[in-house]
Symmetry: C2
Subunit: 138 residues, 2 copies
Amino acid sequence: MKLSTRSEYACLALLDLAERHGKGAVKTEDIARRRKIPRKYLEQILLQLQRAGYVQSRRGAHGGHSLARAPEEISLAEIIRKMDGALAPTKAVSKFFYEPGPLEQSPALLRVLRDIRDYVADRLENTSLADLVGKKRG
Amino acid sequence: MKLSTRSEYACLALLDLAERHGKGAVKTEDIARRRKIPRKYLEQILLQLQRAGYVQSRRGAHGGHSLARAPEEISLAEIIRKMDGALAPTKAVSKFFYEPGPLEQSPALLRVLRDIRDYVADRLENTSLADLVGKKRG
DNA sequence: TTGTTTCTTGACAAAGTCAGTCGACAATGT
DNA sequence: ACATTGTCGACTGACTTTGTCAAGAAACAA
């Protein structure tokens, strides 16, 4: 029932990039300082995000990272699936990572868990980085 | 974002007891066989459930386990909290296990996670063992 | 060219969690 | 007595989490 710090940091880092979208590259160091993320750990995460196609990076002086796609097109669901795997509370009710499990013995229990999965997926699918930027209240 | 096998097994074991509620003690061995749970592991889990007050046990010949409370009074939320801790996806939005975390930097993100937490908690609080027994469809 | 900045890559590691297993012991019923 | 059944604590192996380290490659500047 848990989100890893990896996912948390990934979301915060992408949010940082989304806020500066279109304004050039952002250094690892700056993100780390602003978001209070361990620097070397953040490097690892950014690299993963880059390989997954969310981030573009440029080396050298004035290098840094920027979003590779529009903030509207990146959902929380995608990010968390990349970092943590299934959104569902158990793989027995996962759409993307299904595996059989002991819970399949109880249809009633499965239904509760499926409801939860559906709500979580829906909420995260329909929240993009753009939705989070600048929304200090709402 | 995950439920442990411990929680899964605990729910299945309690469900097994709920189905036989009022009909005497049920042996570890029988639950293990019916639910396909590793025996020694199940012992551990039942012991924990007993200490938490959900289960009564009797040793010796014709011993076994039975529910210590009515099936209506045991919710999935309670069980999972005992076994796994917080229901919330991150402690920053947990009511019972709150701890500060990096996500608190983004109110918008927090709101999404809080919504998820509320839904999960509500759904699990309002589902009791009694609700799961005998509901083969619904 | 040389140096500086910044990302890239792979290896490593400490700590914790998960999913069990094992063996000895205590209580109960016959 | 004796078989049955739960209780308890220790232990283990695999995996995940949360990072750190060091060497290298690309970009830019002087």
